[in-house]
């Protein structure tokens, strides 16, 4: 099939597939059917086949999918078959947590630079990385080939951080700050806000109570 526009939901599910497939691999399962994978991911099996069809044909008819091959194929499809250099702007509580989070490098997103505009923080070493002044972003983005910017500033400084990053030639921004920002259309922008999961929880729990 190999289509142009891929739903956001598909990308999110592919992440789940990789997760579950990795578990299968660890368990020693070599081949898996869309049916079995679907069950483990709590989705419909044609959903899986559809999602994969956006990128190509990865299975063997009558057999299923070779677990390792499928992991590799999905990773290649997503563009995570190589490392991505990231820069983090805003070394507060959340920023520090992300800098310490092992999963980043494990998943191929290498945080190579940490930036802040607070003179008390500049020069400090966090996780073996020196905090650098945000004004040095243009130089550092080039020097370290940073492609993705991670914003973990307070909300009121998120836009400025974005401006710095865009000016420095970054390609994409992941905004963890609880505020909307605007960037030129050629810059990829993603908002991370896990509180909506908590809101959903609150809503559904209260709704269930109300039903009783």
């Amino acid at each position: 099939m190999k289509s142009e526009h891929i739903p956001k939901a598909t990308i999110a599910r592919l992440a789940t597939y990789i997760q579950v497939l990795s578990e299968f691999k660890r368990e020693g399962t070599d081949v898996v059917s869309s049916e079995r994978l679907a069950e483990a991911c709590s989705v419909n099996s044609s959903q899986i086949r559809k999602d994969l069809a956006y990128f190509g044909e990865f299975g063997v008819r009558g057999v299923g999918y070779y677990v390792q091959d499928l992991i590799t194929s999905i990773k290649r499809s997503l563009g995570i078959d190589r490392a991505w250099n990231c820069g983090l702007v805003g070394v507060g509580n959340l920023g520090r947590a992300l800098l310490r989070h092992r999963e980043f490098s494990r998943k191929g997103f290498i945080i190579r630079g940490a930036f802040d505009c607070d003179p008390y923080k500049i020069g400090e070493i966090v996780e073996g990385m020196e905090i650098v002044c945000s004004r040095q972003l243009p130089a550092k983005v080039k020097e370290l080939s940073l492609e993705i910017g991670i914003i973990t500033t307070p909300p009121e400084r998120a836009q400025r951080a974005a401006n710095y990053l865009v000016g420095a030639g970054i390609k994409g921004i992941i905004n963890f700050a609880p505020s909307r920002i605007s960037v030129p259309s050629h810059i990829l922008l993603e908002y991370v806000d896990f509180f909506h999961h908590f809101y959903a929880a609150a809503f559904h729990i209260r709704f269930a109570e109300h039903q009783e």
Copy 2:
């Protein structure tokens, strides 16, 4: 309108609306039209009106929405007009970061208990909270009226953490661990995985390059 089934996407957008409305409020804006709110949130204005219609009528025809009133209404609709007691299981890197994250209590999700099964961690004080053995969950859930469980264990221990929480009578679980878990159908379950935002970034950036 006041409908039964509310799309997950609607909940996520309501979170955005609250965020943007709060900014409007801070700026001193009292009244806002769906058009203006939509622009600030990068969505369609009927989307906003539709989303709100699931819960009731909050606007004034010919005028718009009173910012403060709308914030209050959305919060009440979501069930976040009161505090929710949470317990966190798994005090590793991520767990500690969440315990330190001020935003939780600010948003009304109060982490009242921290649990771990590692004897070296038990008794340690993090952010003024003593880490308690996971086996004490049943007692603590009752004592502290915990309703939401946050799982931040390594993936291989997430299911056991979930079992403890369910056994202790928790109502909902937010799973930050990168693994699928199964719980009885009456327990609300949400997965948090911000890496899919990074995957989406990687994918779109590479796709854009490929286009050139």
